[in-house]
Symmetry: C2
Subunit: 290 residues, 2 copies
């Protein structure tokens, strides 16, 4: 696992533009956020599904890097004063705090564009061929776009400080977080030339763990409030924000996250190869404590 | 020409995402700017070069739309308060004035992403095949990214209210404006399956008209100042901004824009078909009065 992580970090660096006397500021801004030590969940999913479908890690690496670039750009733009207005990300000042808002907007745009340059790069094509790269790029665009991640962010912006329905909350999370997870699993399958049945199973797996991930997030928010603020479970209604816990209650959330995790693991039976890593990953997401 | 424009407008509309109860705000934001009646210079270049190289207008349409989406997103982000802070664009309120800054950032991100979804769409692939679509997407990403348009925008941000050298001014314009012009001409060639020699000539043509375009812009700025403000030619040094006129003088600018236009037209000899439209286009850019 740490071997794979090292490979991803090195590859991410290698796809950044070379130093340039004129454009260095924006390259620095991109590098600052891209190399900030994320957990690399999405790239790992790309590589694991590629291997599971009989493909090679190396061929899938450009796709893995591209999805992490998309994820990183979304964080940079999300943190902007006109969006969530966050000063800190992963314990460090956010991109616009270091480089200014204008450069942060362009740094995000740069990573978004670089993601597609990477998927369609000579290196990616040499390893996967034109057809697979075009298909991976199409999936990335679809799930990162307005009918995916960006759509989820819009629901988020419009739901701020509002009570929303369970249906709307699910729609938001399915898009804001789930869409990129789906893209990751699918791009791994595509790199390996997997058939439609496997692609469908991968997408279902991503859908289930994505939703379970969000529910566990809400559970942990309440528990950590209880521990750090001494508030009783369920009393966290500041901002009037709807969460799975506020809408369904703690017990139902625990039941649902377990059910979704089981359903995700069930999907792995579509694959002939060893699925231990992806099974453990689903369980880890359910049982994590932070 | 107006037939072609109508085709482009219709195609742009057709590539926008369908109406969606959850995401409508961001789709409205994208549509507001994309359908604001631009001159569609870049899409026209795509289609003209496709025809010049023996390709079909219809096959090149998705590429033409994609480059206009990139151009439009760059305007939305450029107008933001943290960038140029403009309230008006093409005589209408800018995107963030209508939809708010957060939605404008996402609307720009949405168009940038949609550009790649369009180049790699089923429709584009059905008409051009996977290889040409992947190559067109790669060119779009390269020229729209940090080593192209975004790089030029960074130089622009960092040069604000500063006197800069002629070399830096050219580097800024080559990237900020010229890069997308090059991408447009090249994507047209690629759709038609043109050989390397033709691609090189198309890129050179774009480079020359791009630079001539900027020089004429600076000339017109001074002339329009003279007419509207009654200032003598060349006195416009507010903001201490370096322009081709301030660095080279009016006469040299006129000579240079003519020279570049001739050089652009010379490149058209690489093509066997009728080049009248592209020749006239270069002359129009040189002789325009606004």
């Amino acid at each position: 696992m740490s071997e794979m992580l090292k490979k991803i970090e090195q590859a991410l660096l290698s796809f950044l533009p070379p130093e340039n006397a004129y454009f260095q500021t924006v390259i620095d801004s991109m590098k600052y956020s891209l190399m900030a030590g994320g957990k690399r969940v999405r790239p790992m999913l790309v590589l694991e599904f590629a291997k599971l479908c009989g493909g090679s890690e190396d061929a899938a690496i450009p796709f893995a890097c591209a999805i992490e670039m998309i994820h990183t750009y979304s964080l940079i733009h999300d943190d902007l004063p006109c969006m969530d207005d966050d000063d800190l990300r992963r314990g460090r000042p956010t991109n616009h705090k270091v480089f200014g808002e204008g450069v942060a907007v362009l740094g995000g745009d740069g990573l978004l564009t670089l993601a597609f340059e990477t998927v369609l790069s000579e290196r990616a094509v040499a390893l996967n061929g034109f057809e697979k790269c075009a298909q991976a790029g199409r999936i990335l665009a679809r799930f990162a776009g307005t009918q995916g991640m960006i759509g989820g962010q819009i629901i988020d912006i419009e739901s701020e400080n509002k009570a929303i329905s369970l249906e709307r909350l699910k729609e938001m999370d399915r898009n804001k977080t789930g869409a990129l997870m789906k893209a990751a699993c699918l791009m791994g399958c595509i790199s390996a030339g997997a058939d439609e049945e496997k692609c469908r199973a991968a997408e279902e797996y991503a859908d289930k763990i994505g939703l379970a991930f969000q529910i566990v997030d809400d559970i942990l928010d309440v528990i950590s409030d209880e521990q750090t603020l001494g508030k009783p479970i369920g009393s966290d209604k500041e901002n009037n924000k709807s969460t799975y816990v506020s809408l369904l209650g703690m017990d139902e959330c625990r039941r649902l996250s377990s059910e979704l995790t089981s359903q995700a693991i069930d999907q792995l039976s579509a694959f002939a190869n060893d699925t231990t890593v992806l099974k453990d990953f689903a369980l880890y997401l359910r049982d994590r404590t932070n």
